[in-house]
């Protein structure tokens, strides 16, 4: 480690699934990261094409997609493949790299039984115990030096960031009824697309796409101990996930209590911005204010008439909800500057990023 906090040599990194949305973002972050060097980016469909062929913002990057069959040995391997792929290849991944960061759900849950309940089972459950959940705001200890990291679900990330302060401060307890109503962008569906995600069908929607039973409930239950009523709506944006959580604490709280809870939780967090009331146009968390960044905006409002706390959070699903969270966790795991490579502040004005 040199004097200015940067390691003396860059860590090498691979991205498996680099032609996808989260994978492209990983490539962007890693090529701009002071302490990483992007060694490999895989795609089966675009093998041998330049990264810029798929990701126009990476036209300047001098690298071509390679096959996921030929993994080089690197310091960190990031896997951003659909659910089920990483569990199948986890041995190869861990052979290739000292640290594996997986962005799928494959290593997020601790219990094999949960995969039976919420997914279609697990084929490499022996690795589950090794995995650390990536979201640093939930705790950094397990991440330091971790060699298998499971990056959180985007909707789970948004929801947990909104609620965690209330849980920590005891404002809400596992028995309290909590409704989480999410509004998310089209990039959550990945690059694959389908009939419902064509531009004519997907534009302008407020579409209940997971009215009940969303799988991210599982990791929220695990991480926060809360059993939520979860509903996800597709709305007309590409990037972004916004969580509105309606909680009904059994004890009366004041706005002061809430500020106390949120400041306690996040005052030292480099990537959380508290936004709760105030003036101007931007008074509560909004996804477009954090688009392209690793920031989360978190805020709340008290509804004394109804004994309700409304907790909000807004993230960029591809960043804080995926690639940014993964790089953040890798920074912690490798002992780098936490914020390295994640300094983009976002845009204003900005339309519907």
């Amino acid at each position: 480690m040199s004097e200015d906090g940067h390691p003396t040599r860059s860590a090498s990194a691979s991205v498996v699934g680099a032609s996808g949305f989260a994978g492209g973002e990983l490539c962007r972050l890693l090529t701009g990261h002071p302490d990483f060097e992007l060694a490999q980016a895989t795609s089966r469909e675009y093998e041998n094409k330049t990264l810029g062929y798929v990701h126009p913002n990476l036209r300047g990057v001098d690298l071509r997609f390679s096959s996921p069959e030929d993994l080089e040995s690197v310091d960190v391997l990031f896997a951003s493949t659909p659910h089920g792929v990483s569990m199948e290849h986890i041995d190869a991944f861990r052979d290739a790299a000292g640290t594996v960061v997986d962005l799928s759900a494959d290593f997020r849950l601790e219990e094999e039984a949960d995969y039976d309940e919420w997914y279609d089972g697990h084929t490499a459950p022996e690795h589950l115990a090794d995995a650390a959940y990536a979201l640093p705001e939930l705790g950094r200890e397990k991440l330091e030096g971790a060699d298998l990291i499971a990056s959180g679900g985007c909707n789970a990330t948004a929801t947990m960031l909104a609620l965690k302060p209330l849980v920590d401060a005891g404002v809400i307890t596992p028995d309290d009824r909590v409704v989480a109503d999410l509004k998310v962008g089209s990039s959550e569906g990945g690059a694959g697309g389908g009939a419902a995600s064509s531009h004519p069908e997907r534009s302008g929607v407020v579409r209940p796409y997971a009215p009940t039973g969303h799988r991210h409930e599982a990791e929220i239950q695990q991480e926060l101990g809360l059993s939520l009523s979860f509903t996800v709506h597709a709305v007309d944006m590409t990037r972004g996930a916004a969580a509105t959580c309606h909680a009904f604490p059994s004890e009366r709280v004041t706005t002061g209590d809430l500020w106390g809870a949120y400041r306690e939780a996040y005052d030292d967090e480099p990537f959380v911005r508290l936004v709760a009331g105030g003036g101007g146009v931007y008074r509560y968390p909004e996804p477009k204010a954090v688009a392209g960044t690793n920031y989360a905006e978190v805020g709340f409002e008290l509804d004394p008439e109804n004994g309700r706390v409304v907790a909000f959070s807004a993230i960029d699903n591809v960043m804080k909800g995926a690639a940014g969270q993964a790089v953040h966790a890798a920074n912690v795991a490798l002992g780098l500057e936490e914020t390295a490579g994640l300094d983009f502040q976002g845009l204003h004005p900005v339309g519907s990023p």
């Binding site: 998310v184 959550e188 569906g189 990945g190 419902a196 997971a210 597709a234």
Partner: protein, 56 residues
């Protein structure tokens, strides 16, 4: 034109004449995809759902 009752919503589903077992029709009321499990008289059951993943 025959009819059958939708098992999902109780609505009436109009059926065409040359109905075959295994055919899938959608209910006009609730949109449920229904499988023809018998033809005379026609009986419908909820069709096995193709869980379409809309994201993440």
């Amino acid at each position: 034109m025959t009819e059958a009752e939708c098992v999902e919503c109780g609505g009436t589903v109009a059926l065409h004449d040359d109905l075959e077992i295994g055919e899938i029709v959608d209910c006009e009321t609730c949109g449920a995809e229904l499988e023809v499990v018998d033809v005379s008289p026609p009986v419908l059951d909820r069709a096995p759902e193709l869980e379409e993943d809309w994201g993440e």
